[in-house]
Amino acid sequence: MSLDMALMLPAIAVLGALGLAMAGMLVWASKAFYVPTDPLVDALIELMPGANCGACGYPGCADCAEHIVAGDVTPDVCTSCDAETFELIGELLGIDISAAEPTYPVILCQGGTNCKDRYDYIGADTCRAAILLAGTKKACSYGCIGLGDCVRACMFDAIEIADNGLPRIKKYNCKGCGACVTACPQQVLTIAKEHGPVYVVCASHDKGKYVKEVCEFGCIGCGICKKNCPEGAIKLDKALAVIDQEKCTQCGTCIDVCPRNAIVKL
């Protein structure tokens, strides 16, 4: 092996000087142009891979970190992180990523094909467009329209419109990110734990008579559940039973007494 000193010295000089100059400039610039940022974001950026690969859909780790801290996405959009990094991120953000019980969206409507249509709709296949055009397409103005805004919002292909006209969650794909909940213009979706909670799966505040007319399963606001609830956890809000999840002990009494089968335990 021959070490050509005449070549090595300029090489060292060039690379060393270039490295020093660039590093010096950056150190100076980072102080001179300092902009204060959220320390939590900074700490998160420290943890993230820093590969800036863009695979998460955000332009770089720093931007992704901002969105994670803001709660827009869960950290697992990052494909470069390994399980250990996720743990560290979880610790930092105070959320237990690995051990948390999975949460899934719940559809608070049993309408779909069980609910009559108000008109036939031909046009852009989005719930929002249909609402803008002539109000909801269903006879029930509170229920699911079934044109799939939630489906399009899902990044993970975890939700589809089933044959009954209602969204169905494909649990094996779902990450519980809640994008569908935000996307739903009718707000009939909510995020819930997988096992346990009891929900009134109807969103209609319409009078009982009308609900009976248009939908097979809607809550008619009869109040039987309210009377029978041992904890007093059910209230009526304009002809719709609402369960206070804080008080509910998931005893299931209301499920048994509901004449419309509009209460379920998940």
Binding site: G50, S80, Y172
Partner: protein, 235 residues
């Protein structure tokens, strides 16, 4: 930190963290040089050299690297190895150097290498880092060679079996059959199909990787559905 088995780390890099099909990183070389089995093999070798080198050195120096300038330092370390392998290929494997072209120096900006340096080697001791490097490299190589083989067979109608000839001392990739003891292996396995040129052009690269990923997704979904059914879910 939980103790990790050396072999376990390698397997994780190949399957669970497969850099191409799972992490979807480092796509440029994957698509550009996977026109044939031989090119894929060459790229995989160059990549392995850089990956191992950078993982070892980053891991060794991890206590010394100041956090503020760690990315420039990683780039410096990686780039040293990249330039080394680039020069060595030029001198010792000229045909491979011509075939891989600009994609060898571009390993330096390969997200996988920097990503592993940052996410793994900078936080782990040397031995697990080596395991991680080996695993990721094998995962990358497997993906590259799979794509390369499919494209070569469909695009040229044959598969040239090559290996690095180290026996005769004459450097380069040679047909397997020219190596003593392997004369029974044909130089090119011909599949007697009309070659579809499109497979070795850019659209073919995208088509191959898209089809493979679709296949893996379908298989993965099936497996998960089965698993969930077993656990009593209704799907």
């Amino acid at each position: 930190m939980a103790k990790k088995s050396f072999v376990g780390e390698i397997i994780r890099g190949i399957i669970k963290d497969n850099p191409v099909f799972v992490l979807v990183l480092g796509l440029c070389p994957t698509l550009a040089v996977s026109t044939s089995f031989a090119n894929a093999l060459g790229m995989a070798m160059a990549f392995t050299f850089v990956m191992l080198g950078s993982n070892i050195f980053v891991s060794l120096l991890r206590k010394q690297i100041p956090a503020d300038v760690r990315i420039p330092i990683f780039i410096l370390i990686i780039c040293t190895f990249v330039t080394m392998i680039d020069m060595m290929l030029e001198a010792f494997l000229p045909p491979m150097y011509d075939a891989l072209g600009i994609f060898v120096p571009l390993i330096v900006v390969n997200c996988i290498v920097i990503g592993r340096a940052e996410a793994y080697a900078n936080r782990n001791p040397v031995l697990p880092s080596i395991a991680d490097g080996i695993g990721i490299s094998i995962g990358f190589a497997a993906a590259l060679i799979l794509i390369g083989t499919i494209r070569e067979i469909l695009g040229t109608g044959g598969l040239k079996l090559v290996m690095l000839n180290v026996i005769n001392g004459d450097p380069g990739f040679y047909p397997l059959s020219t190596i003593p003891g392997f004369s029974f292996v044909p130089e090119v396995i011909s599949f007697h199909i009309e070659p579809a040129v499109v497979m070795i052009t850019p659209p073919g690269a995208f088509l191959t990787i898209a089809m493979l990923m679709l296949l893996f997704k379908i298989l993965g979904d099936r497996k998960r559905v089965k698993q969930l059914r077993k656990e009593g879910y209704e799907l």
